[in-house]
């Protein structure tokens, strides 16, 4: 079926062909037929696109709202620093200037996986560190 897009003129006699074309255009639009208008952003009700309407594997990196953040500092020998990541954090880039700067559980309980955290300890030598990571934001 092809989109017809009938335009009626004043005084024109209405015939079945024109009226059936109007009726068929509803289906042509839904079918995405050539020339038919596409559904635009504002035509979707809030929350109308559910999991059942999203194709499998349709969400790739560019579809996720993310941000990058980082924290850095220095540790003396034996010193421990707690690192608290944002909710929905991906695995971080953990940089240390000296080996044996280990990462361990955080000393404070975050309560749930919504508050991911760990700690860094400089075991044998002072070290600078940087922890940088990406996380999913609340979107727009």
């Amino acid at each position: 079926m092809t989109w017809v897009g009938t335009i009626f003129q004043v005084g024109q006699e209405l015939h079945d062909t024109a009226l059936n074309a109007v009726n068929d255009d509803i289906t042509a639009q839904a079918n995405g037929d050539t020339g038919a208008p596409k559904q635009q952003v504002g035509s979707y009700a809030t929350g109308s696109i559910t999991a059942a309407k999203i194709a499998a594997s349709a969400v790739v990196r560019s579809k996720l709202a993310t941000a990058l953040t980082s924290t850095s500092g220095s540790l003396s020998v034996g010193e421990n620093v707690g690192i608290i990541l944002s909710r929905n954090a991906f695995f971080p880039m953990i940089y240390v200037s000296a080996q044996r700067t280990t990462w361990r559980p955080h000393l404070s309980d975050g309560g749930s996986g919504s508050s991911p955290r760990f700690s860094l300890t400089a075991v044998t030598a002072e070290a600078s560190y940087e922890v940088a990571y990406r996380y999913v934001t609340t979107g727009s």
Binding site: L14, H15, D16, L19, N20, V22, N23, I26, T27, Q29, A30, N31, G32, D33, K38, Q39, Q40, V41, Y44, A45, G47, S48, I49, T50, A51, K53, I54, A55, S57, A58, V59, V60, R61, L64, A65, T66, L68, T69, S70, F90, F91, P92, M93, I94, Y95, V96, A98, Q99, R100, T101, T102, W103, L120, A127, Y129, A132, Y133, R134, G139, S140
Partner: protein, 137 residues
């Protein structure tokens, strides 16, 4: 409201019922009423699904396109093995046949898009580190 799918024939006087049904079918289609044609993929404009129109928690594991990567090997006593993961990396599976310590990487990545860390082996051991990440395309 039900989809009526009007069929017009030439000659008869148009009735208000016919025309109102035609008008109502536009709404019936938008409302996904019984028998109304559903919008297929080709009818959807590019980027028309926004965060507002996507239902809460609609994006689950099956909607996210991911890939798996892994690295495995053997390490000797007191050896460091360094790992750089893919961007958008979920928390990895760290396996070591003998105890090992998780440490930082000694080469900084540019930012959080280059996740990385290391393992320090306190005894000779085999290891396997696997991770899942969100695919770029």
């Amino acid at each position: 409201m039900t989809w009526t799918n009007q069929t017009f024939t030439d000659g008869p006087i148009l009735t208000s019922t016919q025309m109102n049904n035609l008008q109502a079918d536009i709404t019936a289609q938008a409302n996904a009423d019984a028998s109304a044609p559903q919008n297929v993929q080709a009818s959807i404009g590019l980027l028309s699904a926004t965060a507002i129109s996507i239902a809460t928690a609609a994006v689950g594991t099956s909607e996210i396109k991911t890939s798996l990567a892994s690295t495995a090997g053997s390490a000797s006593l007191a050896e460091y093995v360094y790992f750089t993961f893919n961007d958008y990396c979920f928390f990895p599976m760290f396996h070591s046949a003998s105890p090992a310590t998780l440490s930082g990487h000694t080469t900084a990545g540019s930012d959080g898009s280059q996740p990385r860390c290391s393992l320090y082996f306190t005894s000779a051991s085999s290891y396997d580190v696997d991770h899942r990440y969100v695919a770029a395309s």
